[in-house]
């Protein structure tokens, strides 16, 4: 029992330590409940996140720069929460504050270690290390390494709020993944977003930087843009074909506020754009008694294996010799950003750019 439970460890956790070896060997915990709404009451008696950092400084450092760490303090999240302070937001953006909404420090931790690694007073790890087992109670949770660990916050339906259809997904990332070649090839969320990296001690560990739309390299490989620019007497038609490339879901994915914009332009300033997003509209219920907001169109780039996105843009510049394109991802659509008092362009991230030579057909 060397290095037994720390001072903040609960009695329940202490007793669990005895059984750790058996549980770890049997791998009994096959499914991890993600923090959809609230981490369970066991959290209150588990080590605070700072306790983790004391020994896991490398991981803590990675996490501090991650989007998970900023899940609550992010200005866009704050602006949206101020506008519509739904309690369900905290479940995913600040799970530690669900039970203590007035605890600003708890909220500011965003999605911390506890949110993913503690259940019922147990510390969970996909593959507990011998050192870890010696240091504190730990339960083997292989599901931590699967898409199920992400499901709670990245795949769920609309609330039954009388406005949206509660049978439709608000976040649909895992369903998109299921249609992708990544799923066929057993590549998980963690394969890309927690890819292994060599830590300072030379050991390869899964990264907790949780890289995503904050990683330009990852973004640049997400989508492949093919196209042709064909001139006629009045302008240029740009035929586009966008493929999901190194990505395991649609692009963009996640919250409905997000959208990507592919802009094409000529040197003389002719411009057109294709908005990549899920389009929601009010639709009449099948029984004709009411209406709900549902998805009526999807112009995002499908996941690899689910076909390309094809569309056509038009530029009123018949003399153009080339068409430049740029793909930008907006975490918040520019119009929505303006209405929340945010810089409309600040949320835009350059994903990729290129150009097509203009072809002339006689």
């Amino acid at each position: 029992m060397a290095g037994g439970p720390g001072p903040a460890m609960s009695r329940r956790a202490r007793s669990g330590l005895v059984a750790t070896g058996l549980v770890a060997a049997a791998g009994l915990l096959a499914h991890v409940e993600p923090p959809v709404h609230a981490v369970d009451d066991g959290v209150a008696s588990t080590p605070a996140w700072l306790d983790c950092a004391a020994c896991h400084a490398e991981i803590d450092g990675q996490w501090r720069d991650s989007l998970h760490a900023a899940a609550w303090t992010d200005p866009i999240v704050q602006a949206e929460f101020a506008r519509s302070p739904g309690p369900s937001c905290r479940g995913c953006h600040a799970p530690a504050s669900v039970a203590a909404p007035d605890d600003a420090d708890a909220a500011a931790r965003g999605i911390d270690c506890v949110a993913c690694h503690v259940r019922d007073g147990w510390i969970l790890a996909a593959w507990p290390s011998p050192a870890g087992v010696l240091a504190h109670p730990v339960r083997a949770a292989p599901a931590q390494a699967t898409v199920d660990a992400c499901r709670g916050c990245h795949q769920f339906d609309f609330a039954d709020d009388g406005i949206h259809d509660p049978r439709e997904p608000l976040q649909d990332t895992l369903a998109e993944w299921a249609r992708s070649t990544a799923a066929e090839e057993d590549r998980t969320c963690q394969s890309c977003h927690m890819a292994e990296r060599r830590d300072a001690d030379g050991v390869r560990r899964t990264s907790h930087a949780l890289r995503g739309l904050d990683d330009p390299e990852l973004l640049a490989e997400a989508v492949r843009v093919d196209g042709e620019a064909i001139a006629d007497a009045t302008g240029v038609t740009v035929q586009l074909e966008l493929h999901g490339h190194r990505i395991g879901h649609a692009f963009p994915t996640g919250d409905l506020f997000r959208e990507a914009v592919l802009t094409v332009r000529t040197d003389d300033g002719a411009k057109d754009a294709l908005v990549l997003k899920r389009w929601l509209a009010s639709t009449i219920d099948p029984d004709g008694d009411d209406h709900h907001i549902r998805q009526v169109d999807d112009t995002r780039v499908p996941p690899p294996g689910d076909g390309p996105l094809r569309d056509e843009l038009r530029l009123d510049d018949p003399t153009a010799t080339r068409v430049q394109w740029e793909l930008r991802l907006h975490r918040l659509a520019p119009g929505a950003a303006r209405s929340r008092g945010l810089d409309a362009h600040a949320s835009g991230i350059a994903v990729a750019r290129g150009e097509f030579p203009v072809q002339r057909r006689r």
Binding site: R83, S84, P85, W279, A281, S282, T283, I284, G288, G335
Partner: protein
Amino acid sequence: MRGGRWIGWLDFRHDCGVIASLRCPLVCALVLASCAGKDEAPAPGAAPAPGVAGTSTATATAAATSTSTSTATGAATPTGAAMGAGSTVPAMVDPAARFPLAIATLVGAASPPVVDAKAAWADYEAGRFAEAQRGFAAVALADTKAWKHPFNLACAAARGGNAELARVGLVEAVRRGGKAAVDKARRDADLASVRTEAWFEPVMRGEDPAPPAAPPTTAGAAPSIAAPVAPASSPSAPAEPDELPGFSGVSDTPIAGASLTTLKAKLVETHGVPVAIRGSLQLAAGPDGAREAYALYDFSRFAECVKTSNKKACRKKLTGDEEEDNQLECTDAFLVRASLAAAGTWEIRATKPLDLGCEVKRVLNLLALDLDHDGADEILLDVTGQHAYASVRDEINERVRIVQVFRLDGSTQLELRTEFTEAFMSSDGDAHRHYFADGNADGHADVVLQSVELRGEEAFAVNDELWSDDIAEDSPISTQLVPYDPVADAWPGVPARR
């Protein structure tokens, strides 16, 4: 103006001046807590509260534009129908608004209301109960918080032999004062004559039982709510829930079953898109066996667009640069007048688009009733809508309420559109409401428009009834009465938009 028709803005100021006029010998701050109940009034000659005038601060500005055509009643109780006292009042008004609706006849009959509790007391003590009723009614309308005013009104009505008005006063007193009002009502000697009424105990339980049925009336000769109604306490004349004094009946029967299905199909066929019927009204069969009906329905703006265009074009058309411009989440609403033939087929007679912003929020009323008391029913539509940018994830609900009245031939008799913010306002704002009442006692319903400035640091909530429970005691409430014009069969002067 006594006995004449009046129109104009009346500013009731609810402040200590009103309270002080009750001759309560306490300082203003204590008056509200201590002056409840008319028998707590001090003896005549007691000094007015320090620092306040012992007279009413209410001002009344009668419009000079109206001409007096009604005959002066000069009677203790005016004639006129109270449009909507009791539980079957058209649901345009919430319980708080039913009271002014019910007593507006009394207040407006003789003259512009004078908020003078002192004079009301004098009348009461002198046995001039009809005058006291008018006086207490005016005070109760001006001070919408204190339960003592409607309680005193009930006492004056009971002593004056008007059980129905006593019921109205007690309903309001219990609504405002709860147990304190109930306890007093059970022991107050002035209410002895009404404690045996069938409605008394339900009122004490906070219920608002239907008023007794009134005998059939004709326009201009309606029984007054302020006048004793003979059958009111008679066991042989039970209250008819669908019967209102002065109304031949209120019909809110919706289109049902197969008829609704076939109408929906007819509308789908007409528009070429799925429709949702949000409210409907089925009228009785006419001489030819056809049954006219009204229905409020809507359909998706996006679905309507893609009927004739592709999705890409419709996305572009309906999506603006800002969230406020996003029309994708909107529906278009219509009121349809249709006729159901005996064979079960529908004929669309007319459709009228309704500008409800982005979507239908609530259909508050779709009724048939003789609202203006001209002997023929009208169709009353009362509906709220919501604007686009407030429809999703937004607590700031910018809304609109539309009230429209149609004659049976389909012509429009009244249109009133009010924009309002249901959300909590940070500091200041306005609330505007409207209701029907026979304010000039000519037997026809008039339109009453009220406005109040919501002031202060507290937040305010405005409900679908366009009013707020957060109105401060000293908030000036402006009231405008727009009388019904029998010649025009309309309410000329009602602003189309507020």
